[in-house]
């Protein structure tokens, strides 16, 4: 679906390159996360992938097309949801979707059905200027998938959403994946990446430092122990036990039988910690 080889890019007039030879591929139906702090080059990479920046070196192929040669017909096949959900403020929610829908020649979704799906069924006739940021984000998602794109690019898709709507958005993204859509997410929210992405790439200073699945990273770089917090009289105590052979670990079994356990967690690494260990940088 997406094949990138030796991608380099320098903005016109800039003395230094922003991207220094990126290589990666993303398969059909995969959710791929680009993680990095501001200024790392992830937005530049996304702009190249959506066809906005064309003066790059190397090769960037999406859906079999080299992007420096694409026409606007490319947008019949990809969907883009930017971090800032911008619409015609004096048009209603439905007018906005109908406007964008009218610009495609491929079959499109029924806007009413999409709005119902994202919980905006009652806001169809609201002017966009009346919507909250969270409602605009959901509308933004509807706009991006109106034409049933094969590849979907989402920039900070859960930004500005409350936990309920963030969950809804994640479910919708997973639904798109289940339908075979390839999704590329650009974010610095590790939790969303952990939950959604099949693979993530850490990008810093225009270079990819690591690509792997979040689960594998968290397991491999974490400690294979379980930490138990328990109540010992008035005192809150904690102990760690190796996960290997824990079912036959007498000390562990004795502890959980003898004391009231308050929490018990395996000690895999967090994606944020792995990012810092790998890149030496924080995500903010």
């Amino acid at each position: 679906m997406i094949e990138v080889k030796g991608l380099e890019y320098a903005y016109p007039g800039a003395a230094r390159k922003t991207l220094h030879g990126l290589d990666f591929h993303i398969g059909r139906g995969e959710i791929f996360g680009f993680l990095g702090p501001s200024g790392s080059g992830k937005s530049t990479t996304q702009k190249i992938l959506i066809g906005v920046l064309k003066g790059y070196a190397g090769s960037v192929q999406v859906l079999g097309q080299e992007l420096r040669r694409i026409s606007p017909d490319y947008y019949e096949r990809i969907g883009v949801g930017f971090e800032f959900p911008n619409f015609y403020a004096k048009f209603t929610v439905m007018e906005n979707l109908n406007l964008f829908r009218s610009l495609y020649s491929v079959p499109t979704e029924d806007p009413g059905r999409l709005l119902e799906r994202v919980g905006l069924g009652d806001a169809v006739n609201f002017k966009v200027s009346q919507l909250s940021k969270g409602m605009k984000m959901r509308l933004n998602f509807c706009r991006a998938i109106l034409h049933r794109p094969q590849v979907l690019f989402l920039d900070e898709p859960t930004s500005g959403l409350d936990p309920v709507n963030a969950r809804l958005m994640k479910d919708l993204i997973l639904e798109m994946k289940a339908q075979g859509t390839t999704v590329l997410i650009t974010t610095h929210h590790m939790q969303a990446a952990e939950e959604l992405c099949d693979r993530v790439a850490f990008i810093v200073d225009g270079q990819i430092k690591l690509i792997d699945s979040p689960r594998q990273l968290m397991l491999r770089q974490g400690s294979k122990t379980v930490r138990v917090e328990y109540r010992k009289g008035e005192e809150l105590a904690a102990e760690e036990f190796a996960l290997d052979g824990i079912g036959g670990n007498a000390a562990f079994l004795q502890l959980i039988n003898r004391y009231p356990v308050e929490t018990m967690h395996s000690q895999e690494a967090t994606l944020e910690q792995i990012f810092m260990d790998t890149t030496g940088r924080s995500l903010t």
Partner: protein
């Protein structure tokens, strides 16, 4: 079909932002003004008004529309659809030319009467409006604020007003013939006086060349200064 849809939504956008209501009011004021102008000066005043307002309305209107679009950040969403830049520019030029034509005919018919040569008059309004609309889009692509746009629009449009001096017999009239707006004055003047066919042709050619140049400039400016910034959100300070 896509260009037609872009045109329909542009008209709806202008209507929703109250541009048409304001323009009906402005046109009515012009008719009232012409009612009180002495018959000796009425036709020349009407020509000036038609040139500077229905004709050049695109300068303010297109700038205002694109500034509103920048403020609302809609270019980000619009140009990640199959919409072509030439369709976007065409929709702007045609939607504004339609207001110009209705307004120019309204002022002409209400204040003076039917134009002597309706076709050249209408072509004059349409092409002059398109010229200023495209010029305005080229300017607004460079502007980062409303004040910046107002300042730049005066600067860039001033040369196009030079042929107006010829209406008052000021300066060498032959020099004005290289300006596209001299073609506007010839075509708009056809509302009130007989014009030779050669003169019509000259006016159409020089004005069309001006429109083509303004289109190329607007296209390049928009491509380099607006489309290259896609993804950065609303862009107005």
């Amino acid at each position: 079909m896509r260009a037609m849809n872009a045109l329909i939504y542009d008209i709806r956008f202008q209507f929703r932002h109250g541009f048409y209501a304001v323009y009906v009011l402005v046109s009515a004021l012009y008719v009232l003004l012409l009612y009180y102008v002495s018959p000796d000066y009425k036709e020349r005043t009407a020509l000036l008004l038609t040139f500077s307002d229905p004709g050049a309305i695109g300068l303010i209107l297109a700038g205002g529309i694109v500034l509103l679009e920048k403020d609302q950040g809609v270019h980000d969403s619009l140009f990640v659809t199959p919409l072509r830049l030439h369709e976007y520019l065409l929709a702007k030029a045609l939607s504004i030319a339609a207001i110009s034509t209705v307004s120019a005919w309204g002022i002409q018919v209400c204040a003076i009467g039917l134009p002597a040569a309706p076709v050249p008059f209408t072509l004059g309004v349409l092409l002059t409006s398109a010229l200023f609309t495209l010029l305005s889009i080229g300017i607004v692509a460079r502007a980062r604020s409303i004040n910046g746009f107002i300042w730049l629009s005066q600067l860039y449009s001033l040369p196009l007003a030079v042929p107006l001096l010829g209406l008052f017999q000021i300066g060498p009239s032959s020099l004005y013939r290289i300006f596209p707006t001299q073609g506007s004055l010839v075509l708009l003047g056809a509302a009130h006086e007989q014009v030779m066919i050669e003169e019509y042709l000259y006016a159409l050619v020089v004005l069309s060349m001006g429109v083509a140049a303004a289109y190329g400039w607007a296209y390049r400016s928009f491509e380099r200064r607006v489309l290259a910034r896609i993804g950065k959100g609303a862009d107005l300070t």
